[in-house]
């Protein structure tokens, strides 16, 4: 039995809510919503459809938690991400860089972050990202550009 889009759903939820435990809650709720709303599914892209539901679920959850401080969530998220912590050498070598990359992505505004991770980590096309996020392809392009710009600057690689 395979749930082929479960990993993608989990990754998106994690990048959106930035807390692994809450992300898994989001995924579970999204899967149940997917069951409830399946009759609205007429497309040919179940992955985009599921991620769209994950996104909506995550945004709802974030809205419910709007009173909580984001930086607190962020710290918890990074502590809990199972990075290289069980490998001291990798940890020494990669800690600073991984921390920077993670933090740079996590520090992006949500509407830029979701588009960046769908493109870079899920390898989705602009059209698919537009489907998941409900914005036009042109907006996908400009937000992706802004997200990348911000990361380049965070890495100290000033754009030419």
């Amino acid at each position: 039995m395979a749930l082929p889009h479960l990993d993608a759903a989990t990754r998106l939820a994690r990048w959106m809510v930035r807390d692994p435990a809450r992300a898994e809650d989001v995924v579970q709720e999204a899967m149940l919503r997917a069951l409830t709303y399946f009759s609205g599914f007429r497309g040919d892209n179940p992955r985009a459809w599921l991620l769209q539901i994950v996104r909506t679920t995550a945004l709802t959850r974030l809205g419910q938690d709007a009173g909580r401080r984001e930086d607190v969530l962020e710290d918890r998220a990074f502590e809990a991400l199972p990075s290289a912590e069980h490998n001291p050498e990798a940890r020494l070598a990669g800690e600073q860089e991984h921390g920077l990359l993670h933090r740079a992505i996590a520090a992006l505004p949500g509407e830029l972050r979701e588009i960046l991770v769908l493109r870079e980590f899920e390898d989705m096309s602009y059209r698919e990202i537009a489907m998941v996020t409900g914005v036009p392809v042109g907006t996908v392009m400009s937000r992706l550009f802004r997200a990348r710009r911000a990361l380049m600057q965070a890495f100290g690689e000033q754009p030419a």
């Binding site: 039995m1 395979a2 749930l3 082929p4 889009h5 479960l6 990993d7 993608a8 759903a9 989990t10 990754r11 994690r14 692994p20 898994e24 995924v27 579970q28 899967m31 149940l32 997917a34 069951l35 709303y37 399946f38 009759s39 599914f41 179940p46 992955r47 599921l50 991400l81 199972p82 990075s83 290289a84 990669g94 860089e97 991984h98 990359l101 993670h102 992505i105 493109r119 870079e120 980590f121 096309s125 602009y126 392009m141 400009s142 992706l144 550009f145 990348r148 990361l151 380049m152 890495f155 690689e157 000033q158 754009p159 030419a160």
Partner: protein, 246 residues
């Protein structure tokens, strides 16, 4: 910082689209020609490439945890092989949960449909339409919802507690489902007019038993051990039909 040599065109976005594999051959060729004459866009192209490489190489890609995967798999367990479509919701559950299932002819082996219905019912909120341990509540609940009256025996003496009932659809046929519980295991008992044809067995880890009860086909599905399920059947069959016992 110098900018693009041709700022009136959105070369930056085109360079990005090229990097993301979104351009057709003609557009991509135009980008190639442009970066030959535009140091700004050539630099941008290298930066896009370096950034994507770093992100994909250095940011760990964590999927679902094993715990979540197991939980989701148990909850949405759906076979790769054929599963009887039990009604719209069953088909939808298959699509939405597995997002990979082939849908199939109704009227396949009913055992598949029964197990699928049982598994679906394990999802929160779907197990029971009428939660009650009182057969005098559960039995009348089916009146008007079905054109037959399922037996609802009291099996507490045998250690099986009635927890409720629900409607389900197997094949195209509405059926009564009684839910009994013992030691944390739920037993779904599907009842409909007719004869139980298959003897039972095991399917994907669930045990099935079938018997007939005064013109009704009865099939029980559970993850409880086979001996206990047989005990359940014997207890059911031992309840006398008269004296309001059913």
């Amino acid at each position: 910082m110098t900018g693009c040599v041709e700022p009136e065109r959105a070369w930056e976005l085109l360079v990005q689209a090229d990097h993301d594999g979104e351009l057709d051959a003609a557009e991509a060729a135009a980008v190639v020609r442009h970066v030959e004459i535009c140091p700004h866009c050539a630099g941008l192209q290298r930066q896009f490439s370096a950034l994507s490489n770093r992100l994909r190489a250095e940011v760990p890609m964590h999927g679902a945890s094993e715990v979540l995967r197991r939980r989701m798999t148990a909850r949405f367990a759906a076979p790769r092989r054929r599963m009887g479509v039990i009604a719209g919701f069953g088909a939808g559950a298959a699509i939405a949960a597995g997002l990979l299932l082939t849908l199939l002819p109704a009227g396949a082996d009913p055992a598949e449909g029964l197990v699928a219905a049982h598994v679906r019912a394990l999802q929160p909120g779907h197990l029971i339409d009428v939660p009650s341990s009182d057969k005098h509540t559960v039995k009348p609940w089916f009146d008007g919802r079905l054109d037959f009256a399922p037996p609802v025996p009291d099996l507490v003496a045998a250690g099986f507690t009635l927890v409720g009932g629900r409607l389900d659809v197997i094949g195209a046929r509405p059926v009564a489902v009684l839910v009994y519980r013992r030691g944390g295991h739920d037993i779904d008992v599907f009842v409909w007019p007719g004869e139980a044809s298959a003897p039972g067995g095991t399917l994907r880890g669930y045990n099935l038993l079938a018997w007939n009860d005064h013109g009704m086909a009865v099939r029980a599905v559970s993850d409880i051990e086979p001996a206990a399920l047989r005990g359940f059947m014997l207890a059911w069959q031992a309840v006398p039909e008269d004296a309001g016992q059913r």
